[in-house]
């Protein structure tokens, strides 16, 4: 059992927990994730390690409510316990000093980008952060990102905060302004269409781009193959070979199709939940 120590609500659909998980906190690195299972009936869902405190033995997760499990998670409060919480999983992001790194975060992708940006900065890089969301109320951690990056650019799709436009628009401006030869590396994490757009853009400039894939997962240890995806024509298991991959090599179309594998079941799970909730949990 893993205790939720703190809860923070960033928006009606974006929430943050600090969870007591000393073993995960002891060894985790930027780019890794955990898998949790709320209760006996729960499914195993992967969430990125958005922050950690080795001394206190805690892990921070930030999640967006998109379906049955994340909504249920969002209803939990500080003091509640999560049944299972395993990690760190996945390969850490490869951190080195390359000079300048642009870290692009879209939506809830701000959470996974944060520790990566911080690690690149600690490694001596000039880190240019770009964060954006559909609208102002979906933005969070501007302060933490500002601290993690050397410079930070904020944007909203609808223009409700700072400037109007996609994170990729900002990315393009920055590449044009600084010159592609001065930007050896881009990291882009967020919704799939955003990562794909970012990768397409940087391909034009031939700038190496790391993305973090959110394939469907079950075990997260390389045992089931559910998370497999073609990268550079080879099948990779996202949970053990990734989640970071070269964005120019990813078969995005395949990933998009596999992502909605269980769409109708997920809908059913949500309806079933609403129905049992209305009946006070009875079947």
């Amino acid at each position: 059992m893993f205790k939720i120590l703190e809860k923070q609500v960033h928006s009606p659909v974006i929430k943050q927990f600090v969870v007591e998980a000393p073993r995960v906190a002891k060894s985790c690195k930027a780019g890794q994730f955990i898998i949790l299972q709320i209760n006996e009936e729960g499914e195993r869902i992967p969430l990125t390690i958005a922050d950690f405190d080795r001394e206190k033995g805690t892990i921070t997760i930030v999640f967006q409510e998109v379906g049955k499990s994340t909504i249920q998670l969002g209803e939990m409060e500080a003091g509640d316990y999560i049944k299972d919480f395993v990690g760190p999983l996945g390969e850490p992001t490869h951190i080195e000093n390359v000079g300048t790194v642009v870290c692009v975060a879209g939506g809830v992708g701000i959470a996974p980008v944060h520790p990566i940006a911080r690690a690149f900065k600690e490694a001596g890089n000039h880190v240019i952060g770009i964060m954006g969301a559909r609208s102002k109320d979906l933005l969070f951690w501007e302060d933490k990102m500002a601290a993690a990056c050397s410079e930070l650019h904020v944007t909203t799709d609808d223009g409700s905060y700072v400037r109007q436009g996609f994170v990729t628009d900002v990315l393009k401006d920055i590449i044009e302004e600084k010159g592609k030869e001065n930007i050896p590396l881009v990291v882009a994490i967020g919704p799939q269409p955003m990562m794909r757009a970012a990768a397409n853009l940087t391909k034009e400039y031939d700038i190496k781009t790391i993305v973090s894939l959110n394939a469907l997962m079950v075990d997260g240890t390389g045992m089931c193959g559910c998370c497999r995806i073609s990268v550079g024509g080879e099948t990779k298991f996202v949970c053990v070979d990734g989640p970071d991959f070269d964005g120019h090599q990813v078969n995005w179309a395949e990933l998009a199709l596999r992502q909605v594998y269980f769409k109708s079941e997920e809908q059913l799970a949500l309806e079933y939940r609403e129905c049992t909730c209305r009946n006070g949990g009875a079947e």
Partner: protein, 470 residues
């Protein structure tokens, strides 16, 4: 004279195992084989000839005291019988159900030369089930030695090793990657063949010996084997991480939606209880026509599971003929009775899908059996021009598994073979690294429960010796 009499009255047939009706069971996840009742068990035990040379024992990888326990059953000393079994076998309720007895103990049974062999596995199961029902007595544990051992993986191999070491007085901690202990017994072998309650009852017994089980603990991630020894003070480590890495065919279309590895298909269903969706959250999708690729136990389990999840047709697609099916005979028979269709001498070359990425069919080629090769096996040869399209919407790949690379990759100085299996001395379980032992599927490649258990026991003996002399 007694022998004379015995010979005359011996029933040539094993007492039948009561089973759920095939039509009915094909649609539920209840256990197929229901187990002997007391009278049947006693009657079956009375068939045993009590052979002095004990040929049956030699067929058992852990040398269960077979004639001895069977005699006790015949005399209705059931408590004595289970004690006798447990001297050699830590998980009798499991082995009695899933051991390939026809190739092991029962294969060497004297009675089997003329008649059907004694139902050794069924008797073992009877004794174990009875004990689980009546309440298990905890075996004696030696006084603490002050030595700490880490066991990585809680499959049958790790559980056995842990149990033996705990009885010898060592402080044992099992680290398991998943959220429950049991390995393949929990995530792979289906509920209808091995109820998960039985596995968990055995795991609970282990805890009574003082073994600590840390689930949600992926070694190689939260800590490496080296760190366990250097930082967490473990004096020795046993690696029993199994063969969990699913192989795919490497044919076009294999990443389409509707293609599962057997591990995924079975894990969703067994471990995550997707058959109870939406009460349980984990989804599974099975279409109308399912093709399971492969011919082993795993493939049979996949095909039978597909029927139970509601598939209209479930096919086994296998490159060789019926004779070469690597699955246990009983499992293939059960599958056939339930309506699984066998497409033999057939192999897929491509999986076809529509624009939404969903499987719409499978292009296959027919095979014929050629001349026997050096091993005496007739190898399948593709028939040119025999390609055809099989109409399926779900494919389950069950062509085998390799060792999970996490521990091998992160442990310094551990010798591996070319397939990535850990190299260990089969007589001792010792690896190339001092204080580190290994056994089970991670060493041998995918094998059997009882062999994995045997390896766990062997290693426990060597670890005990190592720690005693250290």
């Amino acid at each position: 004279m007694a022998d004379e009499k015995a010979k005359k009255t011996i029933d040539p047939k094993k007492h039948e195992m009561p089973v759920q009706d095939a039509k009915e069971r094909a649609h539920n996840f209840e256990e197929v084989a229901l187990g002997y009742d007391e009278e049947t068990a006693v009657a079956e035990a009375q068939r045993c000839l009590q052979c002095k040379n004990e040929p049956c024992r030699k067929g058992c990888p852990v040398q269960v005291f077979i004639p001895q326990f069977i005699k006790m059953v015949a005399e209705r000393d059931f408590d004595g019988a289970i004690k006798k079994i447990k001297e050699k076998n830590a998980l009798p309720a499991v082995c009695g159900r899933v051991c390939p007895q026809e190739n092991q103990c029962e294969k060497y049974c004297t009675l089997g030369k003329k008649f059907e062999p004694v139902g050794i596995g069924r008797l073992e199961r009877f004794c174990a089930d009875r004990e689980l029902k009546m309440g298990v007595t905890v075996p004696e544990v030696a006084p603490p030695t002050g030595k700490k051992v880490a066991v990585v993986g809680s499959g049958p191999s790790g559980l056995t090793c842990a149990s033996d070491l705990a009885k010898k007085g060592h402080e044992v901690t099992i680290f398991e990657a998943l959220h429950v202990a049991g390995g393949v017994l929990m995530y792979g072998i289906p509920q209808f063949r091995l109820p998960k309650e039985v596995v968990q009852a055995e795991v609970e017994n282990l805890k009574k010996l003082g073994v600590k089980i840390e689930v949600n603990s992926v070694v190689g991630k939260f800590s490496t084997v080296d760190e366990l020894m250097e930082e967490e003070g473990f004096d020795a480590v046993y690696i029993g991480t199994g063969a969990g890495l699913p192989y795919f065919m490497g044919i076009p279309g294999e990443n389409a939606c509707g293609v599962y590895s057997a591990n995924e298909f079975l894990t969703r269903t067994n471990l995550m209880k997707a058959y109870l969706f939406p009460k349980y959250d984990t989804p599974i999708k099975v279409g109308k026509k399912v093709a399971v690729l492969g011919g082993g136990n795993v493939a049979m389990d996949g095909a039978r599971t597909a029927l139970r999840l509601g598939a209209e047709e479930s096919h086994i697609v296998y490159r060789r003929s019926h004779e070469e099916l690597p699955a246990r005979k009983e499992e293939a028979e059960h599958a056939e009775e339930e309506g699984v269709i066998f497409d033999l001498l057939t192999s897929p070359v491509e999986i076809l899908s529509n624009e939404d990425g969903w499987v719409t069919g499978m292009k296959c080629i027919k095979y014929e059996l050629g001349e026997p090769d050096a091993s005496g096996r007739r190898s399948p040869i593709p028939i040119p021009g025999s390609e055809f399209i099989m109409d399926v919407d779900t494919v389950v790949v069950a062509i085998g598994q390799g060792p999970n690379p996490l521990v091998p990759r992160t442990t310094k100085g551990l010798e591996l073979n070319k397939n990535g299996n850990i190299v260990a001395n089969l007589e001792t379980g010792a690896t190339s690294k001092q204080g580190v032992y290994a056994g089970g599927d991670v060493v041998t490649g995918a094998a059997t429960v009882i062999l994995a258990m045997g390896a766990g026991r062997t290693a426990a003996d060597s670890i005990h010796e190592y720690l005693t002399n250290k």
